[in-house]
Structure formats: C-alpha cells, structure tokens
Symmetry: C2
Subunit: 830 residues, 2 copies
C-alpha cells in the first residue's frame, strides 16, 4: 500500500458533492472536469447507456450514447504481422444522441459554461433511478428562467429512455422561448468526441478506445411525423442495424407552435413558445432504441414505435414509477449498509447502482469494461465480468448472472475456432471481444491470458453452486466446462522431475507486468479448478440428468481417457512453491528476477505502463495487480492461513496497483490475514476510484470490474463470506472503526440478510425458506421462522502493513545494487 | 538436417542455366519465375542496385532500382501502443527506373513474354561485372532483328550505371525502328511493384517490405537537353533528395531522328531510325544517381552531370574496362576455388559476386538484408551484416569492413538515445534500421535482441585484430565498445546462488522461435566477449595511444568502478549449462519446454512462422536457427570439443532452418565436430538458397547474410580458419569428395593464399610481407619468400547426422505424449 496512490481522508470536495446516502449531488457547475462528471452522472440499464452530458448538448468532454454490443468492425493492421494475430477489430459505436434538448430565450442559447447561473443542482438518485437537474438562469437579455429536467434509462423497459424538460419564466414580460428536441448522429459528425480520438496519436493511452475512420453509421431511414422523429442506420462493416425513435409531447398553458424536420444525421422537434411569467412549459421526450445483428432498420423502427405507443398510453409518469419499483426491488436484494459511515455509504450505493446500470438488461450481451458509461476499452468484454462482477450478480440477482453466462455459451463456437487457430483442442475464449472473435492486438497481455477460460468456468461453477441451477448446467453450460477442460489438458504437458507433474507454459496471468511465463501460479490453480469442475459436472449429470449426460457424451465426443487425463492433470498440476520464503512464486521464474525499486520510483513515472517499455517492466519483480493474491481469494480453500499471510507479505509491497482490479483483491486478503487498516485503505481507494477519479481516467467511463470488486470487498473481505464448491461460509472481519455492516445473499433461492456487529452476527431470512451457512466453523440452518444470532470470535489483527523489505537484489535508488537475490525452488504439489 | 528442405543433387535446371564457373547464364526466357531471375540477374555496387528487369520495362515481377539508405519514413501505427515501441518506419524507396529502353519495329513493341524469340540468352559475367542479353526476335510483321544489350552498375564510379542496346535488322527491306530510352518514377506510378504490395493484405509475409501510401517522391525538377534527361525529387517525409540524369548517344550508319520530352515522372529520349539490313544501331545510356539527406536535388543533378561528363570524355567502353579491372582485383583477393566441382564453383562465385554487389560502394551506409536486389525487409540493416558479412570483408577487403563499422559509429548517438528510451545506460543499437532509429515493430523478435550490441562489438574487434587498424579503434571505434559494455553492465544484474553470478534477463537471442527469455546463452557469451573486448581496447589505448586514452576517458566520463564492474560481470557471467546432457541450454528455461515433433510436422506447415501463432512456437523446444551453435562458432575458444559435439547433437535435430541464417552455421560446426556429409548438405542448401529459390522468396531479393555465411562455411567450416582475439588458426576439414579448396585471407595487410588438399596445406603470400598462422597447433610464419607446405592430420569423422532422438516429453504424432522430459540444472561458470 505504500505504493498505492495516497488517499486523503475524504477525497471528494464536499462543498460541491455533499454527502447523501441515496444520491450523488453536484451543487456547482464546473467545466474543468466534465469528462469525469459525465461518467459519474451517466444513466443506463445494461442495454442502453447515456453519459451525463448536459441536456443542451454542448460543453462536453465526450458526448456518448451506447448500446451494449452495438459495434463496428475493422481490420486490425499490425505494424508487424504474424500468424494467428487478432484480425477483426471491434469498437462500440456512439449511437445517435437523443439526449439533446436545446433551449433559446430571446434566441439566446443556454450554454452552461458561460451562463449566468443563479442556481445549479444536479443529482443522480439511486432509488429513483433518475438524473435530475435544476437550474436558474439569467439570460444575456436579463430574463430569469428556471429549468428543471429529468433523465432516466428504464430498467423496466429495456429499450426506453424518458426525459422531461420543464421551463418557467420567473420575471418580466412575455418572451419567446424555443425548445428544440434533437437526435444527432455524433459517431459520424464533428464533435468533441472525435477531436479527442484524433488527438490520441500523440499522448497515447492503450486503455482508451481505438478510433474508427470513415463513415460508420450508413443512413437507411429518417422521418418525422405525429410528434415523432426516427433515424435508422446500418453499421458499415459489422452490418449491425439500429432504429431510434423519439416521441415528443408538450404540456403548457402558454401559446406555442410546433415544427419538425429531419435529415440523415439529425432530427429536430421544435416548440416555439410565447412564455409568460410563472406559466410552466413541460416537454417530455420518450426515446426508444432497438438494435440487431442485421434486421432491417425499418423493422427496428417499428419495434421502437411499439415501445413508445405503450408509453403514450401509460404516460411518462408511470414509467418513472416503474423505475422506482424496479429499484426498490433491486435494493431490497442487493443493498449493503455500513453503519454510521455516510460518506462510504454514499460511495457504496453509487457503486452498487453502477452495477445495476451495467448489467440489469444486458441479457444477450456481456458486461463491457466501462459498462455503458464511456467508450474506454472500446466497449469490450474481458475476464473482469466473470471474476469481479458475476459474484455480485450470482448472490443478489442470479438471473442476471445466468444471462451473462449464457452470453459466453453463445460464443462457444467462436472460442472453438480460436482454439484451432491457436493449435489447441477444446475452446479458447478471446481475451477481449464483442462479437466472440479475439480483438486483442497485443497478444502478450491479451491472447496469452489463457486463464480467461478458467475464469469463465469459475464463474459458471460459482453460479451453479450458489443457485442450484443444475438445469442450465445440464442443458448448456456443461459444454463450456468440457471444452475449457480440454483446452487445459492439451495446452499443458507432462514432465518427469523424479515426480510426475503437469505444466502449463507460455501464458500470461492477470498481472500484465509479467507476460508469457511458465507455470503461472494463478493460471495453474484456476486450470486445476477448471479440470476438476468439469469432472464434477459430468458426475452430477450422470447421477441426476442421465439423458442429458448421454447427449453430452455424444455431442462432445467425450472419451473416458480424456476424463482420466483431466483428473491426472488436476491432481499433478505444478503449483510453484518456494520452500525458503514459504510463498508461491507468481510463475516458475518469478523469483529469479531483479526487484523493482518501487519506493524510489517517482510519481511522474506512474503508472509504469505509460513510462517504461514492456521489456523493462517484464524484467523485474513488480506487479500491476497481484496474481497470487487473487488466487488466494478465488481458490482460498487450497491454501493455509500461513501461506496466505506469507504470500500477501511478499507480494503486497511489489504491487503498484496500476490496475484498478488490484485494490479490491488486496483489500479482501488483507482483511482475511488481519491487516485491517490496510484492508480499509485499499477499500477506500477502490470505492472512490471513479468518484474521486483516482486513476485519472474516469472520463473514459466507470471501472466496472473495480466496482464489482467493491461488493466483493464488502461481502467477502469485511463480511468474510466464501463459497468453495457450494459450501457457504462466513468468517467476518468487521473493521474496528465500523459499527456494523449488513448485506444480503441469495443462496439457492433463499435471501439471507447478514447483520454484522462486533462480536456478533445475525442471520435473517428475508425471502425463501432456509439456508445452510457455516459461521466460523459452526454450520447453521437459518429459516424463515426466526433470525439466528451468533457470537463471533475475535478476528486476527495485524498492525501496519507489509514492509518493503530491503530484499537482496534490489537496485537501489542511487543506481548501486545489492548483490544477491533469493533462489527459486519449485516444488511439485505434495 | 532431417528437417531441412530436401535438396536434390543438383537443384538447378541445367538445360536452362548451364554450368559455367564464371557466369550465370539463362538460355531460355521463362515468364513463370520472373521474380527469382530479376533477383539473380540484378546488378549493383553497394550504393546503386538494379534488379534484373528486362530492358523493355514490361513483364516484371517487381521493377526495382534502389539506392542504399535512400528511404522514406512513416509513422508506425501499432494496433496496440505501448511506451517505447518503435515509432519511425523506414522503407527503402524504389528510385526512378533508368533501366528502360523500349524498342518498336514497325511500331510493334518487343514484349518478351509473347515475342517470337529465335534466340535468347542472358548472362551475368562475374569477371566483367556486366549483364549481357542477346535476343533474336521475329516481329509480328515477320521482320527479324538481333538485339544485344549490356547493363552494368560501376564498381569504379559509385554513382554510375551504363547500358548499351544494339539492334541489327537481319532481313528484308528497310523498316522504321524506334528506340525509346526512358526514366520512370515507379515508386509513385502504377506498376506491378505496387500491385504486389497491395495484395499483401491477404497472404501476409512479415519478411517482406511494408507498403508506403501516398506520394513518396515529390517532384522538384525535370528537364531534357543536349541528349540528357534529368529528374529531381525530395522524399515526402524523410526529406531525402535524389537527382538522376541519363545521357544518351547513338552510333549507327542508318538515318535517324532524335526526340526528347520529360515530365515530373517520366523522361523519354527517342531515336527514330530507318533501319537497313545488317547496319547496326547502338544506343548507349549512361546514368548517374546522386542522393543526399537534404541537399537540393538541383545540386544533386549537377553532381550527376559531373559524373556523366567524365564518362562522355572517356567513353562507355572505358567504363566497361574499369569494371573488369576492378573485379580482377576483387577476385584476386577474394576468390574461393573448389577443385573439380564446377556446379558448386559457379554457385560460390555467384555468391561472392553478390557480396561485392552488396557492399563495395556502400561506404557511409550499412548493408541491407537483401543488398540492393529487392525491397525485402524494407532495405533495413540488421545484425546480419556484422556477424555474417563482415568476416568476408574483414579478411578480403578490409576497407569495406571499415566503412561498414564506421557507419555504425555514425549511428552511435541514436543508439544512445534508444538506450535511454529503454531505460538503459550506454548505447543500444536498433534491431532494424536505416536512419539509426529502431524500426522493428515487433519487439519480442526485434528490440529484445539486445545481442546486436555485442554482435557489432564482435565484428569491430574482429576487424581490428585482423587488420591491426588500432588507429580506427583509438580515434572512434572504442566509443562503441565502451557504450555497449555499459549497456550490458546495466542490463544485467547480480544474484547470489551460493555463487555470485551475473544474469541478463528478458532478452531474445538470434533464434526467433523463442523470445524474451532469461540468460540466453548466446547473448551472455557474446556480452561477456563485449565486456572483455572493451577492457582490452582500453588497455591497448593506455599502452599505445596515451593521448587518445585520455580523451576517451574524458569524453565518455569513464569511471574506474565501471571497468572493474565490467571485469566482474564478464568473469561471473552466467552461462547456462546442463550437467546431465553436457550441453548449454539455449536459455535458463529452454530445457523445461516441451519438444516440438518436427519429423511429423508436414511440409505445408513450414516455415512454422507462417503457420503457427508465436505463442505456440515459443512454447516448444524448436529452433528457427541454433543460437548455441552460433556461439560455438563465434566464441569457439570458450568451449571444448566435447561440448561442441554434445550441443550440436542436441540442437541440430531441433532446428528447422526456417531462417536462411541457419544452414551456414550448422555447416561450420558440423564440419568442426566431424559430420562431413551433413556439413556438405548444409553448405549446398546455403549456396543454392537463392539460385534454386530454396526458401521460395528469392523474388524479394538475395539473402545477403546467408551469402556471407557461404564464405564463412567455405573458409571457416571446410577451411577450418578461426581468429580468436587475433590468433589466426587453421584446422581444415576438407570434405572427402572434394579434391581441393583454395581461398585467400588478408591478415594484418598480408594476403595469404591457402591451398588445401587431403592431408596437406600450402600457404603462399600473394601480397605483403608475412603472416603468422597456427596450423593444427603448429604456429608458422609464412613469408613472401616462399610458400609453406604442411602435412595435416586426419580430421574427425562422424557418419550420418544427429538423430531426432525419441526424447522424453515429445508430443507424438498421434497426439499422445511421452510423460517425461529432462530436468534443467543451471550451473554457474566454474
């Protein structure tokens, strides 16, 4: 943690963003960090996302409206080609922007950056699911108006967004007010979004999105009639189609006229109002988006009309009510309460709300690394979803988890093809993708991360264990387990070192500061679990689903020898271990490397990846995130408490945390081994990662995986919850400075509320019948009849944090070096 | 060798290319392999190169005219960027084509591919240095003409090419014959060259050249007057300038008229002749090219005029005579004779002639991987020059070697800057470059090949030892040794394993089928020699050049501690060694890898790099070329005969030879350890690599390094010559099937001819005073007074070749695997 970013007690300017447990409020307009606030105030539902751009459509860092999975493809040009390099680039498209509602008073537009604002407030309400803005503007002609607007993307209606814009003249004579509701194709227009992309040439940042060139959205349809405007497009190369329709209504006692026009890239619906003092004008804009892999956009526009007609019938208010109801249910099953910590509570709820926004209606799609709040990482799906986000879904909204896993199932054929390209049997899932094809153009930190296969298998097993949804396993998901197990058995090989062990060479673990190594401990541990999981699944099918078992056997052409090979490989998997240090080397050669002098690396050289050539970074013991520590979390039952402590002590000081995936995992294991303050520090640097823009790139979108990790840190770190092979255990680590912590877990259909206090836990069934949980070694069966209260032992307590030891071999700041480093002893598993 | 390409006894169609020891003759026009013959019949002098395109300018695979170092730059776009990745792409430009002389009989053009040819012969004469063509054509109107042409690029005049075109009507009435001498800017024109480049998108081959887009040569000047035509350009991005002027004369008794015109991309000088039977028409075209980094092209055109005016005065014939004289001297000091082996003799001479063509007048430039015979590898300079080509130059034309090394010296500042970018002290030479900047876009097989520093230092030491040119060392070259030594001392680090050893991690050796490894044996051996060489050079300066020594000390800010660190690092350098196998692992982890099943890899999957993802290849013990074997050659005095045999036996069966750099080195060590037939097989697959197009890419240009290796295989392999730290030794390995072998060595200014017979060697001083040579352990001093004849012991003799052993751990063809492989024991040096 000595290397992490310093985090002051409250990293947020509370004069601008006051504490409120249920909403994020901004009380002062500030044009200097628009990129960040556009991200923080984004609204979305997992299918459709809208950045928090101002209604009036100017003053932006990046206008952004995204549909999950709606992407353009392009040919990846490698500066130097090689066989099997990723070929099809995939970039999420900035779909037509329907957020825009421009206002003109006396023909003067409202432009927040220069406007004379007598009042300004913007707030994202986590229970309402609505972004509110309330502005009082004194126009250049001296007229005061109040503008109140609302924006929501509906959780209940997947394809719907609703906005209202209410204007009231506050003083003086009548004045003409024009309100222009627009839809713009920004992807192919001239706007700030593209200016930034073009500028990327110089100050590069590989974590951003690739720029598309040439026209992306090919116009197919546009019209305006009956208060509605429509645009239809086909993406030039991917062939995906989109229809978007907006429906406009006005409610006012003022006289007004109505005009509309449309062209290929713009629709306008304009109200010209002669406004009188105190007589409000309310414009409502309901927007529907439908997309497809290829259905004609005309048909998609028809689907939009169906959605919008339902809204017309019920009225916009009904949609805002449904939104609240949906979120009430969400919080009912997902809320986490930290007693008496309002700043943290607000941050936690903002984080959980982001998880809903990123996943709820993703359905046939994956979960992009930035949700739908920005185009960072090109809207791609990574391992992040399975490892960091799915636990939250699995234990609070299992249906969403199932959708995400089914999405991977639909990509299985593409993964089989990729395996063939990589000369492997089975299936190899792409490191980053939208359409199922590998899109990672840097294989060393991309395709080489074979562990994604095991991560998906892990999330799948976790889902089945937590839900008991063995039907899904038997009918579909078993194919994923079998094909990934096959990949591992084929990728690795046997070696006789006196003892016969199974090795996996030439792979990259999650820590991207070391690539293409042998026997990466994380990979091998996860591959072992993958192999075992496949065998267990087949055993379960054989017992409970004999018909499906037969089908699987035939469909996948299973052979008995394969199964015994998986068993042997799992049991004899090489897990690197160093006797002298009592730790697990990150890979077979990790401990042979020179140590990076992290305490003496200046702040302006961080993150390392932006200041050192990969060859330099790879040569040292220095971590972006700690592989081994993650393995200790995901497969914790495979390691002793002593091993966990020794590993954490070794790796924590080497960890830069340059990845936002790092802090949450460090927090969890710090909690487990007893570094309570450190766990809290890590937790804070995770929960505020976007809210305080700690990694200085929140403008590109929220860090969805880190946010998922925040839930893990709360429930698994401080809450001490684990689920190894379906055994639910609790061994809490409530921080001393917290009074209590409450969270919910849905286990095999029963929702249990866990209320932690110091020395005591209360388990209450909120929904369902009963659940079996092991609390610190005592298995209890909690039922709907009554809560169970249990005493808790004191958790382990270590003071401070692991020291950066003056380890032999470190290059000192003055350039001299110590002349020794530790030897490596790789021991096969006992 | 079992894995090499099968080579039939004589791989060349002798009905088309008859055996002739002093020329390469083609007796039949064949349009099906134009790419190859354009390469084989290319002419050049190391500054200017012209592919063997037909005079008439049509029917080509790739029109190509190249000036060494004349390049365009472009921004390298990485599909995924990272810090320190190469930024400036550099591509050799196809300069204006002055080869074209079109002929029209009765307005019908001669087009070889469809022409009715009654006679055809083309021959490249290695002593004349001239490409001759002799054609008898029956035109569509039935008229027979004889056309004899000559083309040469002058060795004596660096900037000059001379062509003649002689036409004689053989029968019938007078007929109009038009002869049009042209110069064309093909780089920016529509021609076959670009068609092929554009097609690269699909069937990629990373060994080819990158395509440039947009106009490259920006016109600055063009004119025609006084029988001359001129073109001047500036390269768009690099800013390099070029002027080219052609001077035309006609000699005929026929009446004729003369016309000329020119535009930005084309000049024409046309002779309209009323030809009579038997009255020859001879057109002579003298062309001069001058280039610069930025001098205005007008000034360069003036320089061309100076060159051409000299030619006008002396006449073209004088230039052809000077060419012969130059080559007589070249062969006098460079020829290698294999007695009674005319096919091989022809091939050897063609190879040696290519070395002259690639290097003679390179002067301020490096030696491109394809010489000036094609645009393959973009005209870049690699380590090839230092390791494969410089020995030939050093021991036969030391001035050329000096030029090549001075070229590296001029790039030292760029190498210092690159070192800073890679976070290293000293200098790091680019893996591939024209202008001194790193141009390798794939760092794993590019920038990671740090060994290029040691290779340059090696060639430099070799040159100084062989020539005694310590002046060059003292005044300039010592800087290279110091800065490269610094790089190694900084790159590596110390580790205490009971024994204190120096390690170099995260580098790639010459074998590009394994990348970014620890303690690559080749790299460490060469780095050790680099460190020692720097120390030796400083010691020599201190003794013999005290003033220069003082200057060096100040100029490079040397510190005593540095020198002692170099000494320690060299003496304690980790050289991986495996006790059980008695071999040197290619790198610290090499023996831990799975073995590639090479005997069962089908031919259509070769070369591997075009059929397997790098991650797949890197995971196995399989070689593109054998690093360790190369180290055994370059630093042979560091290894015992037993070690050499054991290493060769181990690595030879793992070596694909997918690199043309492989066969020559395998041949040399096969000779040394006693595999005589194998050495000959390897030699044949090297000496015919282009002549028989064994790697199927001779169309992109000759394999200059392999060609340099041919000389090494003859002189060091069969001849048994070595030069370790200035001790010249001979331990010949004359193949049983050869009667004798003769070659020349220029040692410290004395040229010695070595005549080998079975059991006997004769040493004769051809020029200079005397030389000291150790012959099989007996040091002799051969003087100009009389030759020395010595008896030779029988060389070692092993039958067959190393077997592909059924080594434990091999994946069998049927997919099953053996379950064991060898353990690795890395021992520090004793």
């Amino acid at each position: 943690m000595s290397h992490g970013r310093a985090l002051v007690d409250d990293p947020i300017d509370r004069s601008r963003f006051p504490v409120d447990e249920w909403q994020l409020t901004e009380t002062r307009y500030d044009g200097s960090d628009l990129g960040v606030t556009e991200t923080l105030f984004a609204v979305g539902n997992g299918y459709l996302g809208m950045r928090g751009n101002v209604e009036e459509g100017r003053d932006s860092y990046a206008h952004g409206t995204f549909i999950n999975g709606f992407h353009e493809t392009w040919r990846i040009r490698h500066a130097e080609e090689a066989y099997g390099f990723a070929r099809v680039g995939q970039t999420i498209v900035n779909v037509p922007d329907a957020k825009v509602i421009r206002i003109y008073i006396d023909d003067e537009p409202l432009l927040l950056s220069v406007a004379d604002l007598r009042h300004y407030e913007r707030r994202l309400d986590f229970r309402e699911g609505v972004l509110y803005r309330d502005v009082e503007w004194q126009s250049p002609s001296g007229r005061r108006v109040r503008i109140r607007s609302k924006r929501m993307v509906s959780f209940a209606e997947r394809h719907l967004a609703v906005m209202t814009y209410e204007v009231t003249l506050l003083d003086g004579d009548d004045v003409p007010i024009n309100i222009s509701c627009q839809m713009l194709n920004r992807q192919d227009g001239q706007d700030e979004y593209h200016v930034r992309d073009a500028a990327m040439g110089e100050g590069f940042d590989p974590r951003r999105s690739e720029a598309l060139t040439g026209r992306v959205l090919v116009p197919e349809d546009h019209w305006h009639r009956d208060g509605m405007s429509a645009l239809g497009y086909r993406a030039h190369s991917s062939g995906m189609t989109i229809g978007v329709v907006s429906d406009h209504t006005i409610d006012t006692e003022n006289p007004y006229q109505e005009f509309a026009d449309s062209d290929e890239d713009l629709t306008r619906h304009v109200y010209r109002v002669q406004a009188r003092v105190g007589v409000p004008i309310t414009v409502t804009k309901a927007v529907s988006y439908h997309t497809s892999r290829g259905v004609p956009s005309r048909e998609l526009i028809d689907r939009c009309l169906m959605t919008l007609e339902r809204v017309r019938e019920g009225g916009a208010d009904a949609e805002f009510r449904r939104q609240r109801e949906w979120l009430d249910a969400f919080w009912e099953r997902s809320d986490v309460v930290i007693e008496d910590q309002p700043e943290l509570q607000q941050a936690v709820r903002w984080n959980l709300f982001q998880l809903a926004q990123a996943t709820a209606r993703a359905e046939g799609n994956g979960i992009p690394a930035k949700g739908l709040t920005g185009s960072g990482y090109s809207g791609h799906y990574f391992w992040d979803s399975e490892v960091y986000i799915l636990p939250f879904l699995t234990y609070t909204s299992p249906q969403f988890a199932r959708n995400a896993l089914r999405f991977r199932y639909t990509m299985l054929d593409a993964a089989r093809e990729r395996a063939v390209e990589l000369n492997q049997e089975g299936a190899l899932f792409p490191w980053r993708t939208i359409n199922g094809q590998e899109a990672s153009a840097y294989y060393a930190a991309g395709t080489a991360q074979y562990h994604i296969d095991a991560d998906i298998a892990h999330a799948l097993r976790q889902y089945v264990n937590a839900t008991g949804d063995t039907d899904f396993l038997a009918r579909e998901a078993v194919d994923i387990l079998v094909e990934t197990a096959r990949m591992w058995a084929d990728l690795g090989f046997w070696r006789e070192n006196g003892d016969n062990t199974f090795h996996i060479h030439g792979v990259t673990g999650p820590d991207e500061y070391t690539t293409v190594v042998n026997d990466n401990m994380f990979t091998n541990v996860m591959a072992r679990a993958n192999l075992r999981g496949a065998l267990r699944a087949l055993k379960l099918l054989k017992r409970d689903y004999p018909a499906e078992y037969e089908q699987v056997w035939r469909r996948l052409r299973l052979r008995e020898e394969e199964l015994s090979e998986w068993h042997r490989a799992a049991e004899r998997m090489c897990i690197p271990y160093d006797e002298r240090l009592g730790i697990h080397p990150q890979d077979a050669q990790f401990l042979e490397k020179e140590l990076w002098d992290l305490p003496n690396t200046p702040a302006e050289k961080r993150p390392l990846l932006l200041h050192y050539h990969p060859l330099v970074i790879y040569r040292f013991q220095v971590l972006k995130q700690a592989d081994v520590v993650l393995a200790l979390f995901l497969q914790g039952d495979e390691f002793t408490a002593e091993e966990k402590l020794a590993n954490f002590d070794y790796y924590d000081p080497l960890t830069t945390g340059d990845s936002t995936l790092s802090a949450v995992v460090q927090s969890i294991i710090a909690s487990e081994v007893g570094y309570q303050e450190l766990a809290l520090d890590y937790f804070r640097s995770a929960v505020f990662v976007d809210l305080a823009d700690l990694h200085r790139n929140a403008s590109d979108g929220v860090h969805t995986a880190s946010i998922g990790g925040v839930w893990n840190a709360l429930v698994c770190g401080f809450g001490g919850f684990r689920d190894y092979v379906g055994n639910f255990t609790l061994d809490p680590r409530l921080p001393e400075v917290w009074k209590g912590l409450s969270f919910k877990l849905t286990l095999e259909g029963t929702r249990v509320r866990v209320d932690l206090k110091h020395g005591q836990v209360t388990l209450t069934v909120e929904e369902g019948s009963s659940a079996r949980i092991d609390v610190c070694g005592n298995e209890v069966n909690v039922t709907a009849d009554e809560p169970i209260v249990m005493e808790l032992p004191d958790p382990p307590r270590l003071i401070g944090s692991p020291e950066v030891r003056d380890i032999e071999g470190t290059r000192r700041a003055d350039g001299t070096r110590m002349t020794a480093t530790v030897p490596t002893l790789i021991e096969p598993p006992a």
